[in-house]
């Protein structure tokens, strides 16, 4: 991480804290009591903390759905999952791993399309000045950074890789820690705090586009196979009309000028309805690691 990047990052962190505080006050209201309001859960795990972007998106959704929308942000997938499974959220943008774990409590709404396909990869990264490390196996006894324990790309995939090589994922690294955001995994590896890290390939590539200073301090040593991209899900008992309206709004985003602009900020092409089978690969890995 060089000096030019440091202060924007810190600014964002403060932005996040502010939005978290705002969000923390809201869920005290019973979610279902507000008849008109849609509650949408988000995490900073893969979404960059951008209040202005989220405001624009919320305004766009409200205009589109003709009802109020509340983004509920939480620091980890687990908190968002607890909320949606408890029926306190209507929709949530989560990762494929929690989806496959709780697919019976959830309904799939839409899957992002990135570079023309509803897939993404997990990248294993090391500091750019580390020229020796060539694979995950070389990181034995080192410090490793995960993003979120419920993240597919930032946790499940490296765990699966180690397990499939016959390693014990809990003892393979000397130390490991969670940063609760993919972007921060890139930072941790970039400054050398961690010797390696697992990161969402979509986040890494987007960062490489908008903040090349961050990603240039890291080097990708492994790319995972394709996995179903981070899905929008709904609580199980979502009314059919709401489900249809919300999905329609997401799918229509590319056709709308403002929606297209929002997608460009997300580096996404759009959304597709998607099938649960997209996430079978993740489900197999989860099974192998034994966490389903």
């Amino acid at each position: 991480m060089n000096d030019d990047d440091r202060s924007p990052v810190r600014l964002r962190r403060r932005c996040f804290l502010r939005s978290a505080l705002v969000a923390a006050a809201l869920p005290l209201l019973p979610a279902r009591a507000e008849q008109g309001g849609l509650r949408v859960g988000l995490t900073p795990v893969f979404l960059d903390d951008q209040m202005s972007f989220l405001t624009r998106w919320r305004v766009w959704l409200e205009r589109r759905l003709k009802r109020s929308v509340v983004f509920v942000q939480r620091g980890s997938y687990r908190e968002v999952m607890d909320l949606i499974r408890g029926g306190k959220l209507d929709f949530a943008w989560i990762c494929g791993y929690p989806y496959v774990r709780y697919r019976h409590d959830l309904r799939l709404v839409a899957v992002p399309v990135w570079r023309g396909r509803p897939y993404y990869q997990s990248y294993l990264i090391v500091p750019a000045d580390d020229r020796k490390t060539g694979s995950l196996a070389d990181l034995r006894g080192k410090v490793f950074a995960y993003s979120d324990p419920d993240s597919n790309s930032g946790f499940l995939y490296p765990q699966y890789r180690l397990a499939s090589q016959g390693e014990n994922p809990t003892t393979f690294f000397s130390r490991s820690f969670f940063t609760w955001a993919h972007r921060k995994v890139v930072e941790a590896v970039g400054v050398g705090l961690a010797d390696g890290g697992a990161v969402d390939g979509y986040v890494w590539d987007t960062l490489a586009e908008f903040h090349p200073g961050l990603t240039s301090a890291t080097r990708i040593i492994e790319r995972s196979p394709d996995f179903g991209h981070t899905p929008f899900v709904a609580r199980r008992d979502i009314p059919a009309a709401e489900m249809r309206q919300f999905r329609g709004a997401l799918l229509d985003m590319p056709a709308d000028p403002e929606g297209a602009q929002l997608l460009r900020l997300l580096s996404l092409d759009g959304f597709v309805a998607g099938q649960p089978a997209l996430f079978d690969g993740i489900a197999r890995m989860a099974m192998r690691v034994g966490k389903v």
């Binding site: 950074a145 820690f177 969670f178 705090l193 961690a194």
Partner: protein, 482 residues
């Protein structure tokens, strides 16, 4: 240093004052800079200590929860990359666990997670020893002599148990630039103050030395140039230098009096010796002279009238008469019987001198008159006044003035004769009253000698003041009241 000791006070006093001013300025500046340095150092330390305390309190939870990233973010937030005071910026911040292994550090590449900071060697190895020595729940400041860093260590305490330490490493030299700036500013201000003070001090010091220098100058003229010693330049005030000046003035005055007395005494002794000598010679000459003159008179009366012999004896008689007159002039003797000196005597004398004065167009003035005859021998007094008046007329400039002053009071006759002619040079003054010491071609040079002899015999006194344009002879003669 001898050269410095011999230096004139003209330079020595100002130089010493300059040295004192410079020394004071340097001492004050050094004291201020030292104080500022200490303050800077204390600020830095207290800042570091409070930062370490805050970090230690904040980091307890992340360390307890093993949340490395959160701890790292806290460390990062304690660093301000655009700090106004870079010396307040910790060079390295790290959190160590109970076994002195890095939990997290602000420089992960130098202090990776799980490694011992002692691996870096040097001061870091010493830190561990310091941690073991002390009670682990106290904050410590450690300043290893061989390290460019000094460290502030604050324990991470949860429920009375030390989980580890927060260690802040500060560069010892990071505040050197600021310190140099401080010294520069202090030097500049000192220089400005010196620029103002130095000329003033220099002037004041010169003023202090000036009276001493004047005194020294005057002293150098003693005793060689006693007459020209510039006494009025001496300090007049009442301080010690002024007192020295007074003493010096008194001393010079006394020296001058002594010198004059000596000169007068020598002149008197010489005159007395000359007087005795001439009196002796006169007696020795007068005895055969009387015989020779008697012999010539006898021959004239009883001789055979040989014309050649008579002519020869006339020649001899005239010669012998001249010798007798000269000897008589040398040998001034008070006649036992003489009439008193009367006011009319002055008138006679003026008539006698008038012709000579008229010839030289000299004006005669007479100041004062005698009211009555004085019991003093008239012949001798007439001789004195006549001689002095004739001398004065001769000495006066053509068309000049001569003044005769007289006064008789309380048994003392005061006479004074002045003329406005050229003054008597010093070289002549010493021998003025000796016989045949005349500076003029005319006269036999016995005038003043006679005056002196008469005044002496009458127990009087005689002084001469001569300066350009005014030469005055003053005579005092005591007389008994009739």
């Amino acid at each position: 240093m001898i050269a410095l000791d011999d230096l004139s006070l003209r330079w020595k006093i100002p130089l010493r004052v300059m040295a004192a001013v410079l020394g004071t300025a340097l001492a004050v500046t050094a004291a201020l800079v030292t104080r500022e340095y200490d303050e800077m150092r204390q600020n830095l330390e207290s800042h570091a200590k409070s930062l370490a305390r805050v970090l230690a309190n904040t980091l307890v939870t992340p360390v307890l929860h093993d949340d490395i990233w959160r701890a790292y973010e806290i460390l990062q937030s304690a660093r301000d990359p655009a700090a106004i005071a870079p010396e307040l910026q910790a060079d390295v911040v790290m959190v160590t666990d109970a076994e002195f292994r890095v939990f997290v550090s602000s420089r992960p590449r130098d202090f990776p997670i799980g490694a011992s900071p002692a691996r870096q060697g040097g001061a870091y190895a010493r830190l561990r020893a310091a941690l073991m020595d002390r009670k682990s729940t106290e904050q410590q400041v450690i300043e290893p002599a061989d390290s460019v860093h000094y460290f502030v260590m604050s324990p991470l305490v949860a429920d009375g148990v030390a989980l580890g330490h927060v260690i802040l490493g500060y560069s010892k030299i990071s505040f050197v630039p600021r310190f140099i700036g401080l010294v520069g500013r202090a030097a500049f201000v000192t220089l400005l103050v010196l620029l103002l003070i130095l000329p003033v001090s220099w002037f004041a010091a010169r003023q202090t030395g000036a009276p001493l220098l004047a005194l020294a100058d005057a002293m150098r003229q003693v005793p060689g140039e006693l007459g020209s010693a510039r006494l009025p330049d001496l300090p007049q005030n009442k301080d010690e230098i002024g007192q020295l000046g007074d003493a010096f003035r008194r001393m010079v005055g006394e020296l001058r009096e002594k010198q004059e007395l000596e000169e007068q005494m020598i002149a008197s002794q010489r005159l007395a010796a000359v007087g005795r000598l001439s009196a002796g010679i006169a007696h020795e000459i007068n005895n055969p002279l009387g015989g020779m003159l008697t012999a010539i008179t006898t021959y004239r009366r009883h001789g055979n009238g040989d014309p050649l012999a008579l002519e020869t004896f006339s020649l001899l008689e005239r010669g012998l008469d001249q010798i007798r007159n000269t000897v008589a002039a040398l040998l001034v003797e008070t006649k036992a019987k003489d009439r008193s000196f009367a006011p009319a005597d002055i008138d006679d004398l003026l008539i006698l001198v008038d012709a000579e004065a008229a010839a030289r167009k000299v004006t005669l003035h007479v100041g004062g008159r005698l009211q009555s005859p004085l019991p003093l021998p008239a012949t001798l007094l007439r001789q004195i006044v006549l001689n002095l008046l004739l001398n004065a007329v001769a000495a006066a400039d053509h068309g000049g003035k001569v003044r005769l002053g007289m006064d008789a009071r309380n048994g003392m006759l005061h006479l004074s004769v002045c003329n406005d002619g050229a003054h008597i040079p010093d070289s002549r003054m010493a021998h003025l009253f000796e016989p045949f010491a005349s500076g003029r071609e005319k006269g036999h040079g016995l005038g003043l000698w006679v005056v002196y002899q008469i005044v002496k015999q009458l127990n009087g006194g005689l002084t001469v003041d001569s300066e350009p344009g005014n030469t005055t002879f003053r005579i005092e003669i005591p007389y008994g009241e009739p």
